[in-house]
């Protein structure tokens, strides 16, 4: 049973079937399991369905590689840059089916699954096209009068993804996983999903975890597979480890405007590198070290003009 949960990135990705309904950790340009996503594309995973909140970098990569079949989600946008071109093109061409929710509504669907109940009542979305205009769901929300007070609410059904992929800061060998900073939707996603894969910056001794239990986002019994993936969120950032690689993200965004340019990006950073280690060698130690967080600030000095 020793280290039964620890898989290589290749093995962990191989365990995900084509057509899987997946949810990914992270928010905007932060905490996103990008090494896992690149390996998914490399291995040819296809027909992926996303149950998503704001995993824009995942959605745009999978869409640009032609691997995203449909998405129930609330928002895919590159903050400070604009809409996601690969994802938008896929929807505009009718290649990706969508079902739109508000942040609170889609998260509530995950919470219902996490709590083991069939639905939850919520207040937002009523009266709008998020309620009235259908995508691919049989029924996304139902107006309901509270049986106690008569107050009108919407009922949203539980959403149970097949697989949650979370990138955390560190975990022990049992998968007890910790994160510094804001925790995105990790807790709800992991408890909602049938299977949970966690990639981490570092695997540590269990004493490190037990010394600061308040940092634990996922107890190990919720975690099915654990993958050692340092810089596994690059080009997004990990608080107290490294900042988002804004220059890389900007170059990506420019490439994503044009399909041929995006194909060259995929070749260069996904298909032409054998694995995550080769990817890190390609990015280069100098660049990675410049992104590393200052221990006192939690972010890189190159991005902290006045904070120090």
């Amino acid at each position: 049973m020793i280290d039964a949960k620890i898989l290589s990135l290749r093995e962990a990705v191989a365990s995900v079937p084509d057509g899987a309904n997946m949810t990914f950790g992270g928010f905007a340009a932060y905490f996103t399991p990008m090494a896992f996503v690149r390996e998914m594309i490399r291995q040819g995973k296809r027909d992926i369905e996303m149950t998503s909140v704001a995993e824009c970098w995942v959605a745009d990569h999978l869409a640009g590689a032609g691997r995203l079949r449909r998405a129930r989600f609330s928002n895919f946008m590159f903050e400070g840059m604009g809409r996601c071109y690969n994802f938008s093109r896929g929807v505009e061409r009718g290649e990706i089916a969508v079902e739109d929710y508000s942040h609170f509504a889609i998260t509530s669907r995950l919470v219902a699954a996490a709590l083991g109940i069939p639905f939850l009542p919520i207040k937002p979305m009523a009266g709008t096209d998020l309620m009235h205009t259908r995508g691919f769901e049989a029924e996304k929300a139902r107006p309901f009068a509270c049986p106690f007070t008569g107050e009108s609410v919407l009922l949203v059904p539980a959403a149970r993804p097949d697989v949650a992929v979370i990138h955390a800061a560190r975990a022990d060998r049992d998968g007890n996983a910790q994160l510094f900073g804001n925790t995105c939707v990790i807790d709800e996603q992991a408890r909602a999903a049938s299977r949970v894969i966690v990639t981490v910056e570092e695997i540590v001794d269990d004493g490190v975890i037990r010394a600061q239990p308040e940092l634990t986002v996922l107890p190990g019994f919720l975690v099915d597979a654990l993958v050692d993936a340092p810089f596994g969120a690059h080009p997004t950032g990990m608080y107290r480890y490294y900042d988002p690689d804004f220059a890389f993200l900007t170059d990506y965004y420019a490439a994503s405007r044009d399909e041929a340019a995006f194909r060259r990006y995929l070749d260069e950073y996904v298909f032409d590198v054998a694995d995550h280690w080769a990817y890190l060698r390609k990015i280069g130690i100098r660049r990675l070290m410049a992104l590393r967080a200052d221990p006192g600030l939690g972010l890189a000095r190159i991005h902290a003009r006045t904070l120090s």
Binding site: E79, F104, K123, T128, D129
Partner: protein
């Protein structure tokens, strides 16, 4: 102050909407600039909450997004998105800011799609927290560029509720809060006439006429009895905006 940009006027007008001690739900861009300005001037005790799960950020350096580590560093609580949005449904948020590709005369917003839903001409980012803020915050302040194609008779997809179909619309849908109370554009400041819930011109920015505002609006605007001029930034506000909040002029515009 002839070198004042319209974005600076917008930022000052938006900052004025945040009262000291209020809890505000803040997004990226001009709302963040306005919130920082409010904190640095008349509303030092206001609390800024971000949907990323960052609560009561201490603004010191302009962030690129609501999950930026610059906001995380020095905030009072780092939690999850569900907690942050639950604060809206729990009734803890006094006001929120939002924008969109389109707004109609009742303050309903589209940030989802142009030209159909399932197979649109232009797919936009989607609601995110916008619908949650619009449905649940105490007051909503809308910030957007003033263009005829944006201020439209009918939004192509109703992402975020203003007053829905007019008076009583929010109540019939079971929504909370007052709904949108201000629209701040690069030409004018508007509100919603209390009985009809229709958009009403309050003030025009320096150098703008009410006729110009109407000509760039896709529906007839009501007008306040006296349409005044939007106050320009005070020297103190301008200095704080340019030196502390947005020294690179990313959101308040570059000065020549």
């Amino acid at each position: 102050m002839s070198d004042v940009t319209r974005q600076e006027i917008m930022a000052v007008a938006a900052a004025r909407e945040i009262k000291d001690g209020e809890v505000a739900f803040i997004g990226t861009g001009l709302p963040m600039v306005a919130a920082y300005l409010a904190k640095f001037t008349h509303a030092p005790s206001s609390v800024l909450v971000f949907e990323s799960g960052i609560v009561d950020a201490r603004p010191r350096e302009l962030a690129t997004g609501v999950g930026d580590f610059r906001l995380l560093h020095g905030c009072v609580k780092a939690t999850g998105l569900y907690y942050a949005l639950s604060l809206l449904q729990g009734g803890f948020i006094d006001l929120g800011f939002m924008g969109g590709a389109e707004v109609d005369q009742y303050g309903n917003l589209n940030s989802t799609a142009i030209g159909g839903y399932a197979r649109p001409t232009v797919r936009l980012p989607g609601s995110g927290g916008a619908n949650d803020i619009g449905s649940l915050a105490g007051r909503i302040v809308i910030l957007m560029p003033h263009e005829q194609r944006r201020l439209v008779p009918r939004v192509q997809y109703l992402t975020t509720p203003g007053f829905l179909d007019g008076p009583g619309g929010r109540e019939r849908a079971g929504l909370r809060g007052e709904g949108p109370t201000r629209v701040i554009t690069d030409l004018a400041v508007l509100d919603f006439e209390p009985r009809s819930k229709r958009m009403r011109l309050l003030t025009v920015h320096p150098g703008v006429t009410p006729e110009e505002v109407q000509s760039r609006t896709g529906f007839p605007l009501l007008r306040a009895e006296t349409v005044g001029e939007t106050p320009a930034p005070s020297p103190e506000q301008a200095a704080i905006l340019r030196q502390r909040v947005d020294p690179e002029g990313i959101y308040i515009g570059k000065k020549g």
